[in-house]
Amino acid sequence: MTTENQSIAIEVKALDKQFGPIHAVRDVSFSVSHGEVLGFLGPNGAGKSTTMKMITGFLEPTSGTVIVNGNDVTTHPIEVKSSIGYLPEGAPSYGEMTVLSFLRFIAEIRGFKGAEAEKKIDAVVKKINLEMVLGQTIETLSKGFKRRVGMAQTIIHDPDVLIMDEPTDGLDPNQKHEVRSLIKEMAEKKAIIISTHILEEVDAICTRAIIIAAGKILFDGTPQELRATSDKNDIDDAFRIITTQHYEQHGERAHS
């Protein structure tokens, strides 16, 4: 069945990134279709963020290509960036701005003007419940609200592709639930990549999981398949087995 919903949105081919002596991402390839929610798992420093930064055009790959909706990110960065909504790790935003002026700035950059921009801002503010803090400067907001502002910035232009780096990190259980419902709600038509350390999240919202460690993809499959790799049929256990095995092998090779 190849409906429009399932067309490939993101194609990552043989992606490689080297920071001086550190080989952060090694030969990573995968693709994400519309309607898929891809969970990016892996220990800290595994290369998750680096991969996301290359997909969104913030970093240039050492080699390999990223194609988003048919556009290569290195040759057509503006087109790619227009079709992506990206929430960087920690949801950075301009602290001295009020929520409203920040969203106006984003709307303007995203190409909305006047009444249309106000409409977009209204819609996203309602969706994410930002009404009561609109006039407040972002630096005075709680962590949860800051993250919401980041989310609003990410989805204001109703992008086709969503990339979120640890969107629920540091939030309380209720806020986590909110973010997850929001992602689920949008999942149908969009191609979404989220990175997370919370494995239950993969079960809750992802249709696919990729485990990455030391820059390499170690597992690519559905959450059910991931769980099945463990004897206990437990996703945490499966994650531990896959990642520790890899590091052990690596360690051995380094010694010999």
Partner: protein, 244 residues
């Protein structure tokens, strides 16, 4: 163009919602006052012109402009907002130009607020106002030159302190190369062409010539090339960070 103006507006908003703008403007006006009346002996000279006012601008800018420019990129890098900015659908040059124009516009506002001294000198005597207009223009262009250097240095480092110190040093070289003391040193032995070349790199040389009321095409070109060069260097630095 639309993106440049969006970035510029956001930057200016940033200046005026934090104390940065007000502190800078107050200090700038206070220092221009001191320099003009005490060091420049504005009254004692008993001449109806603003030379004692403009004469000290390069030296004031030397410290004040890097203080404005240091935050242009260092702050974005430090707070992580650069990742947000650079993944929006804008080009690096649009971001660089937008930010630069905001800072330049801001120094323009500070400069415009020195207007009481213009009124004063017109009240006290009959100055040549075309010379004053030219001097304001020259001072504004020179501020742009300082800013473009600061923009590039700020793109190199996360630390605003480092950005400030290095910018001051480089700006100082650009001022110094037109200073009589330095030129005299070279004049003694170097060929004329070399001395002229060194002098022609200096802010002072070009500012002095505009300050006399003669807006020479060559001086305008000098500042245009200088600003373009340093902004281009800023783009290169930011681009190279993407690959590293």
């Amino acid at each position: 163009m639309k993106n440049i103006s969006a970035i510029m507006k956001r930057e200016l908003y940033g200046y005026f919602t934090t104390p940065v703008a007000y502190v800078f403007i107050v200090i700038f006006l206070f220092l221009t006052g001191i320099f003009t009346f005490y060091l420049g002996s504005f009254y004692e000279r008993a001449q109806a012109d603003l030379d004692p006012f403009f004469r000290f601008h390069p030296w004031l800018y030397l410290f004040l402009i890097p203080a404005i420019a240091m935050r242009l990129w260092s702050e974005e890098r430090k707070s992580g907002t650069i990742e947000l900015l650079m993944t929006l659908p804008i080009s690096v040059s649009e971001a660089v130009i937008g930010k630069f124009l905001a800072a330049w516009c801001f120094t323009g506002i500070a400069l415009a607020l020195t207007f009481p001294i213009w009124i004063t000198v017109n009240y006290l005597g009959e100055p040549d106002n075309t010379v004053i207009v030219a001097s304001y223009l020259g001072s504004f262009l020179m501020a742009g030159g300082f800013l473009s250097i600061g923009s590039c240095i700020s793109a190199i480092t996360k630390s605003q302190v480092i950005a400030f110190v290095i910018s001051v040093v480089i700006c100082f070289l650009f001022v110094l190369s037109g200073f009589p003391l330095v030129l005299d040193f070279f004049q003694a032995w170097a060929p004329h062409a070399l001395v002229d070349a060194i002098a022609s790199f200096s802010f002072l040389t070009h500012f002095d010539s505009i300050k006399k009321g003669v807006i020479d095409f060559r001086d305008l070109v000098y500042f245009a090339i200088l600003i373009t060069f340093w902004l281009y260097a800023t783009v290169v630095v930011i681009d190279s960070r993407k690959a590293s």
